[in-house]
Amino acid sequence: MEKTLAFWSILRKDIKTYYLKPPNISWGIIFPVSWTLMFFIRSGGAVDIKGILPGVMALSVLFGTTSMLAVTITFERKKRSFERLLLAPISLNLLMLAKTTGTIIFGVINGFIPVLFASFLIDLSGINWFFAFISVLLIAVTSTFLGLFVAVSVSEVFEAQTFSNFFRFPMIFLCGLFIPLDNLPVFLRPLSYLLPLTYGADLLKLAVSHRGSIPVWLNLLVLVTYGTGLFLISTYNIQKKWIY
């Protein structure tokens, strides 16, 4: 009871002070729009919207979540208000779950904004919505915890952004969303299979355009393992570094 109260309070405060602020909302919209536009321009208008939709969705989730954690964690740590949370009688795991739940929700919503745009342009029947939601949720969870891992490893907001890009940009090209894995040079393929987004993207493709290439159980297993692993490493790092 006490714990639930603290959890909701932290979540509500973050939503109010960060996620509902205009810069962040627009970031969530501008990003998917620019991706969609970029593909339109590149392919001269005759774009297979349904084909690129999973990719744009996944990237919206990835960029939305990883950039938010730089603010909700790195910034609060710099301003020392994060200490207040560390000094409260709540366990570190619960605290970090509360801090990341907002980001996960934000990521999921971000992921469906491209769907909203696409719905004006094409017929979206045939998408397995339940499966699409699960895929977006799993991508949001793993990329949030990836962002958490980055946020815990640095002390400045700009470092968090730079370090995130180190993961984010290779993922765009290696996760199989825009360039099918079979078309990648052979020496890059093992790298693709190391990235969690590859598995999330595959699930999403299956849900949206019924074109997955990795067994579903493997996708789920890898995503859950990545998510749990990154979360545990991050809380361990916080124990070590922030309770100095």
Binding site: E2, S9, K13, R84, L87, P89
Partner: protein, 325 residues
């Protein structure tokens, strides 16, 4: 009853030992002052006691619980006011308090009531709806204290509660702390203001260079100091031989201080003025004032830490030389 008990507590940062095997206790219901110069290890100690820093070695017992292993349980009954305000800039004073209360599991109506109560008590009710970032330094510190006691903790830790704020706010804060203590809260505070410690605290621990060199009741320290009688003479000009000729003429006294225009002497016996007047006259030294100095905690501090500071400095110098060789 001992509410905090610290045994051989140490903290190392790499090769550097910031806190060196300190042992002391705090009694339930008292205001305990941790007094020491900058860099002495006060913040490091408070961080270890509250769970923000991990002790390298040693033991902490707070209210019967293990302050290292069971820190999350301990955090329920303690309040913490850090040296820098760490509330949320964007939230109003009221929202900050309500948020902090919720971290301790207080229900909505209870925490809102308590928040207004504290805002009123701290004279911040008019500013309650303004964002924290618009507060003055003194207001920020007051709100940080309010946030520290929102859950009515048994023990309140404050790290330099009056450093860096205006005189008026500092006085209000001292009075608030005194009142809080009278209502039963045990208070542990750090400070480098001697008068503050003297006015507020029942007992004081002196910390210098990571060592706690004395823990004592303020009353005892003052009584000890006031056993000595001190007189300061204001004179026209001191001379190089003044000190030695004074000591030669009055073997029982100690020379506390000699500056250009004054000399301060001390003695455990009552000091008769006439012999000194005669002495100065005989040496053609014009004297304009003789003043009784009432020893305060400052004298005690200099006496206790001054010597140690010199000694520790000498030791450090010695170590450096050894390293070079």
């Amino acid at each position: 009853m001992k509410i905090i008990e610290i045994t051989k507590l140490s903290k190392n940062y790499g090769d550097f030992q910031a806190v060196k095997e300190i042992s002391f206790f705090v009694e339930k219901g008292e205001i305990f002052g941790f007094l020491g110069p900058n860099g002495a290890g006060k913040t490091t100690t408070i961080n270890m006691l509250t769970g923000l820093a991990r002790p390298t070695s040693g033991e902490i017992i707070i209210s019967g619980q293990d302050g290292v292993k069971d820190i999350k349980k301990v955090q329920r009954i303690i309040g913490i006011v850090p040296d820098e305000s760490n509330l949320y800039d964007e939230l109003s004073g009221f929202d900050n308090l309500v948020f902090c209360a919720s971290l301790y599991g207080m229900g909505r109506s209870e925490r809102e009531k308590r928040a207004w109560e504290l805002l009123t008590r701290f004279g911040l009710d008019d500013a309650g709806k303004r964002p924290f970032k618009a507060y003055s330094k003194g207001m920020k510190r007051k709100l940080t204290i309010a946030a520290g006691i929102i859950h009515e903790p048994e023990i309140l830790f404050l790290d330099e509660p009056t450093t860096g704020i205006d005189v008026k706010s500092a006085r209000q804060i001292r009075e608030l702390l005194k009142a809080l203590n009278e209502q039963g809260t045990t208070i542990f505070l750090t400070t480098h203001y001697i008068e503050e410690a003297e006015w507020l605290c029942r007992r004081i621990g002196f910390i210098v260079d990571g060592n706690v060199i004395k823990v004592s009741h303020v009353d005892d320290l003052l009584r000890e100091a006031q056993k000595e009688n001190i007189i300061e003479f204001t004179i026209e000009k001191t001379s190089a031989v003044l000190k030695s000729s004074l000591l030669e003429r009055f073997p029982g006294i100690t020379i506390k201080k000699v500056s250009d225009h004054s000399v301060r002497i001390g003695s455990t016996e009552k000091i008769e003025l006439m012999p000194f007047m005669k002495f100065f006259a005989a040496n053609s030294i014009k004297i304009s004032e003789a003043r009784i100095i009432r020893p305060s905690l400052e004298e005690v501090f200099v006496k206790i830490t001054g010597i140690e500071i010199e000694k520790l400095k000498a030791e450090n110098e010695g170590k450096k030389k050894w390293k070079k060789l």
